[in-house]
């Protein structure tokens, strides 16, 4: 089953923060986060391999709550370049399932 992402879309002003959530109905092996800009391929952001793990790159970070089967992506002080559709991918038995995506728009 596909993971469920929320919200479906969000509009921000530059400098604002956002949180994107991803939840699964099944126990997860790992959670992947990708960003896709219009007309381009998805780009890998980060992977979380175990419960409690948190990762970050510059002002984008993520957490993985294994018990709740949830992951959240945090975007801090958003930049125009953060605009795109964010997908979480959940891995169960080598089977990758992606959510429907969250469309993030950052305006000046």
């Amino acid at each position: 089953q596909q993971p469920v992402q929320s919200p479906q879309a969000v509009i921000l002003r530059e400098g604002e923060d956002a949180v994107i959530n991803c939840s699964s109905s099944k126990a997860l092996y790992s959670v992947h986060w990708y960003r896709q800009k219009h007309g381009e391929a998805p780009v890998f952001l980060m992977i979380l391999l175990k419960g409690g793990e948190q990762k970050g790159h510059e002002k984008i970070s993520a957490s993985f709550n294994e018990k709740k089967q949830q992951s959240s992506l945090y975007l801090t002080a958003s930049q125009l370049s953060y605009s795109g559709t964010y997908f979480c991918g959940t891995e169960i038995d080598n089977d990758m399932r992606f959510g429907a995506g969250t469309r993030l728009t950052v305006k000046p």
Binding site: E40, A41, E91, D93, R97, F98
Partner: protein
């Protein structure tokens, strides 16, 4: 270092025809996964190849088949094309390492249109 490459970039086929899409993984990667992405949706997992064998398969009919070669490149074949097969087909490569799909690097995709 070349990333993941796919060919062709665009393809137009007629219902009932067969198509072959190709993918070359990123250098150092040994695993190739194929995805179908319809407009406005997330990628849907088709299957994954590792060591020239299908390691896992998503909910796609047998019309979708694949192959991985000794140099880790891969092909996706779709037989008896349907209008609903029109989509962007993405290939992603990764290094299995100690297990799991690892960080996946996507190619630019092949846009397939079935008329």
């Amino acid at each position: 270092d070349a990333g993941v490459t796919q060919s062709p970039t665009h393809l137009i086929k007629t219902r009932g025809q067969q198509v072959t899409l190709r993918c070359s993984p990123k250098s150092g990667h040994d695993t190739v996964s194929w995805y179908q992405q319809a407009l406005g949706q997330g990628p849907q997992f088709i299957f994954q190849y590792y060591e020239e064998e299908e390691r896992q398969r998503g909910n796609f009919p047998d019309r979708f088949s694949g192959h991985q070669f000794p140099n880790y490149s891969s092909e996706l074949n779709v037989n008896a094309l349907l209008l609903g097969d029109s989509a962007l087909y993405l290939c992603a490569s990764s290094f299995i390492g100690f297990g799991g799909s690892g960080e996946q690097y996507f190619g630019p995709g092949t846009r397939l249109t079935v008329t």
